[in-house]
C-alpha cells in the first residue's frame, strides 16, 4: 500500500540553525512529491513540488527538498531558519496517473527556539 512517513512528530531548532525534516514514501513508481506548510489556525499552503528533473527543488522562503530515489525519500531543508518558520510541515505524495488523491504524511511540528 502507498504511504508517506514523517518519522519526527516534532523538531526543535534554534533560530539561525539549519533544518532538515524527513519524509519517506512507499510507492513502486515515481510519484509527484510535495511539501506543504500549515501556519497556526490556517489551511495548508504549498512550499514546493517535484516530479522530474533536478532532484533538488527550490521552494518559497528559502526551502528546498531533495528527491533520493534509491532511498524513497524527499527531505525538506533550509539553511537558516527564522522564528516565522514555526509551523507544521506535511509531506505528500500523488502517484502519477492517480485519481488526484494525495497521500499525506502525519506532519512534523517545527518549533524555533530564540
Amino acid at each position: 500500500a502507498q504511504s508517506v512517513t514523517q518519522p519526527d512528530a516534532r523538531v526543535t531548532v534554534s533560530e539561525g540553525a539549519s533544518l532538515q525534516l524527513r519524509c519517506k514514501y512507499s510507492y513502486s513508481g515515481t510519484p509527484y512529491l510535495f511539501w506543504y506548510v500549515q501556519y497556526p489556525r490556517q489551511g495548508l499552503q504549498l512550499l514546493l513540488k517535484y516530479y522530474s528533473g533536478d532532484p533538488v527543488v527550490q521552494g518559497v522562503n528559502g526551502f528546498e527538498a531533495e528527491f533520493i530515489k534509491s532511498n524513497s525519500s524527499f527531505h525538506l531543508r533550509k539553511a537558516s531558519v527564522h522564528w516565522s518558520d514555526s509551523a507544521v510541515y506535511f509531506c505528500a505524495v500523488s502517484p502519477a496517473y492517480s485519481n488526484y488523491q494525495l497521500i499525506w504524511g502525519s506532519g512534523t511540528k517545527l518549533i524555533i527556539k530564540p
Binding site: Q42, G43, Y97, S98, N99
Partner: protein, 113 residues
C-alpha cells in the same frame, strides 16, 4: 484573488443535530475535497469531487455526505452529528491532474457536545 472560503470558521453543535459546512472557491477548479484533521493523524480525505454531481468517497466517508451543484461550491453534511466527529474540517480545491497544487481553506473547527 485565488481563494477557498469556508463558513463558518467555528461551530458548536449538540449530538444528533445536523451540520452543514459550506465551501466556495473562485478559481473555477474542477476538483474539490473535504478533509478532516485530528492531532497526530494528519489529513484524512472524506470526499473528493471531480466536478458537479461527480463525487467519490475518500478514506473516511462514513457519517458524512456531500453536495456539489455548482462548480464553485462544495458542501459537507453531517446527518445527526456524533461526538467523534469533533474535528477541524478543511475544504480544498485544485485543477485536474496529479501534479497540481491543492489550495486549502482556513478550516472549520467543529465541536459536537
Amino acid at each position: 484573488d485565488m481563494k477557498v472560503t469556508q463558513m463558518p470558521r467555528y461551530l458548536i453543535k449538540r449530538m444528533g443535530e445536523n451540520v452543514l459546512l459550506e465551501c466556495g472557491q473562485d478559481m473555477s477548479h474542477e476538483t474539490m475535497y473535504w478533509y478532516r484533521q485530528d492531532p497526530g493523524l494528519g489529513l484524512q480525505l472524506i470526499y473528493i469531487s471531480y466536478d458537479v454531481d461527480s463525487n467519490s468517497e475518500g478514506d473516511i466517508p462514513k457519517g458524512y455526505r456531500v453536495s456539489r451543484k455548482k462548480r464553485e461550491h462544495f458542501s459537507l453534511i453531517l446527518d445527526s452529528a456524533k461526538t467523534n466527529q469533533t474535528s477541524v474540517y478543511f475544504c480544498a480545491s485544485s485543477l485536474s491532474g496529479a501534479d497540481t497544487e491543492v489550495f486549502f481553506g482556513k478550516g472549520t473547527r467543529l465541536t459536537v457536545v
